[in-house]
């Protein structure tokens, strides 16, 4: 039976830039960095406190997965912010918001109280958006 989620895929436009964003700006840790071909690595990162969840930074390039036309469309969709890949938990959202803003992260929503906690929305360097939420204490 399925026991847990071990990997999730985030489509990125450039793996080097994505690695810099997720590691040096968001503070994640590289789990595996295995070269494959020019511009393509099996590159996974994880939040510092969640080593058993690998986020695979998958490059959108023409090849097996995408033909030229699909790759072009996917890249435009990624750039346009069509994909929201998930929610990051946060323990001090106001400080984290200020820190990430100072590091150049683009937020489409400043921290705002919702019924589930305080939430902000930001984009990664490719255009994918994420929720960052400090959940209400139970």
């Amino acid at each position: 039976m399925i026991t847990r989620l071990s990997h999730a895929c985030i489509y990125v436009l450039d793996q080097d830039s994505a690695e810099n964003f997720y590691v040096n700006i968001l503070g994640m840790v590289v789990h595996t960095n295995a070269p494959m071909a020019p511009g393509i690595r099996w590159l996974t990162v994880h939040p510092k406190n969640q080593p058993d969840l690998e986020l695979s930074l998958c490059p959108v390039v023409e090849g097996m997965m995408f033909n030229k036309d699909t790759a072009g469309k996917m890249r435009e969709l990624v750039k346009a912010g069509s994909f929201g890949f998930g929610v990051f938990d946060c323990d001090d959202i106001y400080a984290t918001y200020e820190e990430l803003k100072a590091k150049g992260v683009v937020f489409s929503k400043a921290p705002k109280e919702e019924f589930y906690g305080v939430e902000a929305l930001f984009k990664d360097d490719s255009g994918n958006w994420f929720s960052m939420t400090q959940r209400k204490a139970e």
């Binding site: 295995a34 494959m36 090849g63 997965m65 033909n67 323990d91 400080a95």
Partner: protein
Amino acid sequence: MRLVRAKLFIDEHYASDIDLDNIADEASFSKYHFIRLFRRVFGATPHQYLTSVRLFRARALLAQGVPVTDTCYSVGFDSLSSFTGLFKRAVGKTPSAFRAEALHLRADMARAPLAYIPHCFASSYGWLPGVSPENRNFQEVPLAAAPLL
């Protein structure tokens, strides 16, 4: 926020000889208040945070094969023995052992990449022999071909 600016200052200047008392003054806090607030917001004292940033950067350099001594001084430690002790406590192995393992892993990945790259990823990027663009799209495995329990 003054605390965030202090943290960002540490992030940017970790390799230098940072005077944390100075940072407290710049942020207009008393030293005691600064340490207490910093710990409450970021989960570590400024000194602990600075050490953690230096060790984080050291891991990246060692994994690239930078020699231990060069790594130690380039991330801001001024004592090799102190760096080695802190590194071992944080990571569970000495900087030399960590570096040797990382280099061994890199060499092994280059020699046998498919031992590290999942089949689904390798095949979706056309990296497996015998996989052609005609088979690009997702195709359901016929029930008869599925492995029996």
